[in-house]
Symmetry: C2
Subunit: 249 residues, 2 copies
DNA sequence: CGCCTATTTGATCTGATTCAAACAATGTGG
DNA sequence: CCACATTGTTTGAATCAGATCAAATAGGCG
């Protein structure tokens, strides 16, 4: 029986990493959201923009990416529901990267003024949001280890582990299955690999019976070996143990 | 004639990115610092630690790095004086990476309780510190572009550009010269390259007359071409224009 | 069916690593 | 002041992970 607050993606997300008092939850539930549905492959904010509101991802997958002068894209982060991918713009006026949708998404836009007000009134909310941005930085750090030190096989294994754990943290994974609706070439963009190499690496992972990834569904068969292959340990996600995670964390 | 506040590395650093009111500056100047000198190649905090204070880097160079299970190191950030490299620990209990010295360093340790107090009393300080952590994340993002998309030549060019601009922002660069006291192999650790490849790449940069890097001194000869080679644009550092930067930003 | 997109396979190329060794610079103790 | 160790720089050759180029195959779907 999910409590009413668990229907609110932001509250659920913040609660997965930070303890919140009741009045803080209540205030968060009162935050005015401008709900907008956006189709896949659209940019929400672009490098150089100066947004006056931040986007709460309610449904779908989004990503943060940057373009080099030669037009090559580097993906920095994949966002799952509950995230506020451009929360940074609350304190950094100019966007230094792009935020776009991967799948069709539902966003709830929150005015910066409303965020500032709630932060001023509830230090616990301010703390939780600051913490969110710090966790995102921790995910970046982990991602850098993959980019700099790991071969494709490990990097991909790590990504699948991270995605599963993050989806689970917001209640979007059942057992060792969750949705990951994208093509192999899209996955390649995320991992910084060519579609060709993604395909070959996926074949290896499949051959090693670690997981299956087809039709937008990710199923992990062998957590222990996959986490080992990806050098994955979820500590950096700073998740609280809320009692709804299965055997392995 | 430097104003007295400019002698305080933290104030100087924060002022380079964020406007501060007088009472905020005064409060920052009152922050109790436990000054400690630490020799080169020492860890300040390690992955798994739960620090109760953060380290203000007063003098020297430090870095944040992480180790893979196989013992390979990935450097995430190089810190210049004025930075609080482990400010994250104010809100994330457990360190997910290591902080160590590159050169001999002087640190001023600040109790988290003191930081929390000043943040509670001065929202502007809280804003400035949050902003610092967000700028660090922006630097991460930029670094990821280099790791994922750029060849060694560009990546190195970018690093030199960034280091010069950041040193300049805290008053530690004269013209196009600043100190960068490290060996080529150390530079390789930072860039995620082998010492051999660093050497060959440096030869190229030298041959192209873009810069010189010897005896711990970095001299940039050709800003326009170096920034182009490194796909460098300082916007992501969110620097305010304080009027003490030379022709090119 | 034909069209379009996604997956798969093969061959070749390349930036960077690895291994190995020479060489230069600096410092240390006899 | 020289012998020697130590550390940093430079050069060469072999190897490798992944990119690139090209094309075949497999699905969905109007």
């Amino acid at each position: 029986m999910p409590s009413p607050t668990e229907d609110h993606p932001l509250v659920r997300k913040l609660k997965s990493t930070t303890e919140l008092a009741e009045d803080e939850v209540a205030a968060l539930l009162r935050l005015p959201l401008a709900i907008v549905d956006i189709r896949a492959n659209q940019d929400i904010v672009r490098q150089g923009d100066r947004p006056s509101r931040s986007a709460l991802l309610i449904e779908g997958l989004a990503w943060t990416y940057s373009l080099t002068r030669k037009g090559k894209a580097q993906v920095m982060a994949v966002h799952v529901p509950g995230a506020i991918p451009d929360l940074q713009s609350l304190h950094l006026t100019v966007m230094d990267c792009n935020l776009g949708t991967i799948t069709p998404c539902r966003f709830g836009f929150i005015e910066h003024s409303a965020l500032r007000a709630i932060c001023a009134q509830f230090p616990g909310v301010s703390h939780a949001l600051w913490r969110e941005t710090l966790i995102e930085a921790a995910i970046y750090r982990q991602w850098m280890v993959g980019l700099g030190q790991q071969v494709a096989y490990s990097r991909m294994a790590h990504f699948f582990c991270e995605h599963m754990v993050r989806m689970r943290a917001v209640g979007l994974a059942v057992e060792n299955t969750c949705s990951l609706p994208m093509s192999q070439s899209r996955l390649g963009e995320i991992l910084g690999l060519t579609a060709v190499h993604v395909n070959r690496t996926l074949q290896e992972l499949r051959h090693d019976k670690l997981l299956s990834f087809e039709k937008g569904q990710l199923v992990i068969f062998d957590w222990p070996r996959l986490t080992k292959a990806g050098d994955f340990d979820s500590y950096y996600l700073q998740l609280r143990h809320t009692g709804n995670e299965p055997e392995s964390l």
